[in-house]
């Protein structure tokens, strides 16, 4: 039995890698996607274009602006001279932010009256706007603390000590890159498995397999193992790239990570084979894979938190294997989550995997045209 399965696995690998096109499709897109996502998919802002309308001539305003100019998060474009320039600059997207300091800014500050800093922000991309505003607030907070210290003013009765655990500089790349491991592993596994049965059906070789002494379980294993192995290899490769190229810390233990990968692959291969055995043609297989992948990725917490979704959608995500894997990945990479805490992510993936594989095996023989 083992020999027959090995023969099937060998055949699958040959079929996948002997063909230039399919070799390309398995190798190239993940690498392109890894680089593009790794570099492009970030919520961190740097060099935010800002414009300043400074109607104050005092030294204090220049001092405050120096804080902004010193930050790599901001980049000042040409100064504005009148109020109506503000709309023009923002509308045409020359600047995301306009800082406006009124004529009495320095005077108020020295008098101990709150000096007003007007911040006008382009809200077309609300997330960018929100983050930019946060940057502004933290610069002003810093300025205020310094000012109070230097001018012996009264300190506020309470102040905040902000700290971020696991990701002290709040780099969103640390969040995105481990997510990409799950994303690409899923995509590659789906490409390998979702077409594998459909392609054989289309070419008539599946009938040929069914008349051999192979049992459905053996065909299932023969079809599942290549996707599994390729997913595992690509996943491991991406983990290496994440750690050594993108410098994302990996503080948890590797065995927890690999238990997670194995269970995730089990569920991904199961879904892929289920789609594949339902599809009669490759086109249907591809469409099915696409219709699964897009919601699975969007509703996994990969880019946006599941907690922000409406309750109904949140309930829907319990059947999405990727949501569990995202927690495992980020937990192991950044938080060092111990194995015991990950158990509640492990078992749903295992259940999804076993159920879908069982359905796929049943469909092999029962889906006939």
């Amino acid at each position: 039995m083992l020999k027959r399965i090995l023969a099937l696995v060998r055949k699958e690998f040959l079929a996948l890698f002997k063909d230039k096109k399919s070799r390309f499709i398995i190798v190239a897109p993940p690498i392109i996607q890894l680089l593009v996502f790794g570099y492009a998919a970030t919520f961190d802002l740097n060099r935010i274009p800002i414009a300043v309308l400074n109607q104050d001539s005092g030294a204090a305003s220049r001092q405050l602006l120096a804080h902004f100019r010193g930050s790599t998060n901001f980049q000042e474009i040409a100064p504005l001279h009148q109020n109506r320039d503000i709309a023009k600059t923002i509308n045409s997207k020359q600047a995301l932010l306009v800082l406006q300091l009124g004529p009495h800014f320095s005077r108020d500050l020295y008098l101990g009256k709150p000096a007003q800093l007007q911040v006008i922000v382009d809200g077309r991309n609300s997330n960018t706007a929100l983050i930019a505003l946060n940057y502004v607030h933290s610069i002003v907070l810093q300025f205020n603390n310094d000012w109070v210290k230097n001018h012996h003013g009264p300190a506020p009765p309470a102040h905040l000590q902000l700290r971020a655990w696991f990701n002290p500089n709040l780099e969103s790349r640390w969040f995105i890159v481990p997510g990409i491991i799950g994303l690409l592993t899923l995509v590659v596994t789906m490409v390998v498995t979702a077409l594998s049965v459909a392609r054989e059906r289309e070419q008539g070789t599946f009938d040929q397999l069914l008349v051999t002494p192979l049992r459905p379980v053996e065909i299932l294993l023969g079809k599942a193992l290549p996707g599994f192995v390729i997913g595992l290899l690509e996943g491991s490769l991406i983990i290496l790239v994440a750690v050594y190229w993108f410098n994302v810390p990996l503080i948890g233990n590797l065995s927890a990570l690999f238990i997670g990968i194995v269970l995730f692959l089990l569920s991904a291969v199961g879904v892929g084979l289920m789609i594949s055995s339902l599809a009669v043609t490759q086109q249907q297989g591809m469409l099915g894979a696409f219709l699964f992948l897009v919601p699975a990725i969007i509703l996994s917490g990969f880019a946006t938190p599941i907690a922000n979704m409406p309750t109904l959608v949140q309930q829907l995500t319990v059947i999405n294997p990727m949501r569990y894997f995202m927690v495992v990945l980020r937990g192991v990479f950044l938080e060092g989550t111990p194995l015991a805490l990950l158990f509640k992510q492990f078992w749903p993936m295992a259940v999804i995997g076993i159920v879908t594989l069982a359905i796929a095996a049943w469909l092999f023989r029962h889906r006939m045209q």
């Binding site: 060998r10 008349v211 051999t212």
Partner: protein
């Protein structure tokens, strides 16, 4: 078929020399994977105005390339092509305005209805609206599609699709009609109807026709025939002249007390015999000289009867082909075959395949309706029928690929669908379309199937070596199997099916589309297997294949119309009137009679 041959009409548009198409010294190469492959080499061809010219040759001879060149879809490397007085290379658009071209897989839009397909091509050809109604009426009437105009093209049968394709091509009557294998995959009845349409066309419009075909009996319907082989034109002449070359050299041989297979074997090995094929209970031969072959290696006790028969076009063609065989083409091989040790105790009368009152329903439609038959050990049994007659459904049920709706079936005493996997090790399966892994090499495929059937170590490598030798695949063992010529593919498929020495072999239209030499070679092997005791079940709509069978079941609309040896079937068909000389005539007579019975009900 000759009955419909038209009289020569007056000449229509043509070149000064009276040719609608002239090709001179045409060569065309394709580059695939860095290697240049010569598809056509200095080909000369002409199509006389108002005549049917047949382009005959095996698969891969270059027929399609030639058709595409004539249609201006490809550019020749050298040589000139003149179509209706125009240069096809310089003026493809002008040429395309005045020709009709029906590619091998005609581009019907399967999700459009018959009428919508016609409308599309009428629009594309610029047929004026005023005359469309009349034109559609004529075309649908001629093609027998008048009651199906609202049906989706994808729902038509294979033969009807081809007829619709032809109707679309003819929506603007062309001066030159190019038909690329219009009858491939079409059952005998539809095939005849297509030829009737083509002949009518010539009578009514004087259209010139170039038609390519792999069916040799069709060549006799043409005024002229050009033989294409490996990119070379072996000659162009009237079919009669090709046939005349072997006139007086054809005989029908039978021997009392000797099986037809044993007789065929002996005759095929006889020096004076150029060609030998099984036909019913006889063996038809072409001798090398104008006298019956001598030195037939048979004991004197055998009572041999050799009767001269009229020559056919196929005899001429095969003889010509054999003269052009290249060294790398497969020679004839004896198959050294033994049945695996799992052979059950031999009881000569036991039926290896039993089918009783078997039915298969798809929704309200019965694909197979209450059929019964039995196949004995060592017998070659054929399921013969038109497209949609139910033979493939029966075949799939027997292989365990499809559950029956009702009835009983057993293969070697088991229902393969429920049987343990070990039972499936006793059958071999070879399907209609090439169903091996195309991007794997020949050796990879052999290794894969040998492992699947549980061979390993020395026995596995011995068996692979055996396959490479027995099926002359050694020279191509590292080629990707999809790149092989059809004949090689089919040998590889058979090698894979025999890897585990099965005692039952299922063949689904095994030689569809391959050239006559490859078909002969294939059946030669099958005969050896049958002699060795392998039970063989074959589905086909090729009459030549049917002639090789010991017994046949002719199916129509899910039912068995006739069951018996080829000769018995011919006799029973003769009861329905009309002279029956070939199995094809018998087949059509039976189908006609059945259609009559059903319409009366």
């Amino acid at each position: 078929m000759n009955a419909h041959r038209p009289q020569l009409p007056p000449m229509r548009s043509a070149d000064d020399d009276g040719n609608a198409l002239t090709m001179s010294t045409i060569s065309k190469s394709f580059v695939s994977e860095g290697r240049s492959v010569k598809a056509l080499d200095e080909v000369e061809l002409r199509v006389s105005a108002g005549r049917i010219t047949g382009l005959v040759g095996p698969d891969g001879a270059g027929k399609t390339t030639l058709m595409r060149l004539a249609a201006g879809l490809l550019q020749a490397d050298t040589g000139s092509i003149r179509v209706l007085g125009l240069d096809a290379t310089r003026d493809p658009l002008m040429v395309q305005r005045s020709i009709g071209y029906m590619p091998q897989r005609f581009g019907l839009y399967e999700d459009l209805s018959v009428q919508e397909n016609l409308d599309l091509y009428a629009d594309l050809q610029g047929v004026p609206h005023a005359i469309r109604a009349q034109r559609y009426h004529d075309l649908t009437k001629m093609t027998g599609l008048e009651h199906f105009t609202r049906r989706l093209a994808g729902r038509l049968s294979g033969g009807m699709k081809q007829k619709l394709g032809l109707a679309c091509t003819l929506v603007q009557p062309p001066q030159l009609l190019l038909l690329d294998e219009p009858t491939v995959g079409v059952d005998p009845v539809s095939r005849r109807e297509l030829w009737v349409i083509i002949n009518k066309l010539i009578l009514q419009h004087g259209t010139s026709v170039l038609v390519s075909t792999a069916y040799l009996d069709e060549a006799e319907n043409c005024h002229e025939v050009a033989l294409l082989h490996n990119g070379h034109c072996l000659g162009q002449d009237t079919p009669a002249r090709f046939t005349a070359r072997v006139e007086g050299r054809t005989y029908s041989v039978s021997a009392a007390g000797l099986s037809k297979r044993a007789l065929h074997d002996v005759l095929a090995d006889t020096d004076d015999v150029v060609d030998a094929v099984v036909q019913g209970n006889h063996v038809r031969i072409v001798a090398s000289k104008n006298e019956p072959p001598k030195n037939i290696d048979l004991p004197n006790s055998v009572d041999l009867s050799i009767v001269p028969v009229p020559a056919r076009f196929e005899d001429g063609f095969v003889t010509l082909l054999r003269a052009h065989l290249r060294p790398e083409d497969p020679a004839r091989h004896h198959l050294d075959f033994k049945i695996a040790a799992t052979t059950p105790t031999r009881a000569s009368a036991d039926a290896v395949i039993q089918v009783r009152e078997l039915s298969r329903r798809f929704g309200p439609f019965y694909a197979v309706k209450n059929i019964s038959f039995a196949v004995q050990r060592g017998e070659v049994f054929g399921l013969l029928g038109a497209n949609g007659a139910g033979k493939s459904t029966t075949f799939r049920m027997l292989c365990g690929l499809l559950p029956p709706s009702s009835g009983h079936l057993s293969v070697a005493g088991l229902d393969l669908r429920r049987a343990a996997s070990a039972a499936r090790a006793r059958i071999g399966y070879m399907s209609q379309k090439f169903s091996l892994y195309g991007n794997l090499t020949v050796r990879d495929n052999l290794q894969f199937f040998s492992s699947i059937y549980g061979l390993s170590g020395a026995s596995r490598s011995d068996r692979i070596k055996w396959s490479l030798e027995q099926f002359t695949l050694d020279s191509v063992k590292d080629n990707r199997s999809i790149d092989l010529p059809l004949g090689f593919k089919q040998r590889l498929a058979l090698a894979c099916a025999l890897m585990h020495e099965p005692d039952i072999l299922f063949l689904d239209e095994p030689t569809s589309g391959v050239d006559p030499l490859a078909r002969r070679e294939f059946w030669h092997r099958i005969n050896h297997l049958a002699e060795a005791g392998v039970t063989i079940l074959v589905t086909t709509h090729f009459m030549e294949e049917a002639e090789y069978c010991d017994r046949l079941a002719i199916m129509d609309a899910g039912e068995i119309l006739a069951l018996g040896t080829p000769d018995e079937i011919k006799v029973s068909a003769a009861d329905h009137g009309g002279p029956i000389s070939t199995l094809e005539d018998a087949f059509i007579a039976l189908l006609d009679a059945n259609a009559k019975v059903r319409s009366e009900q």
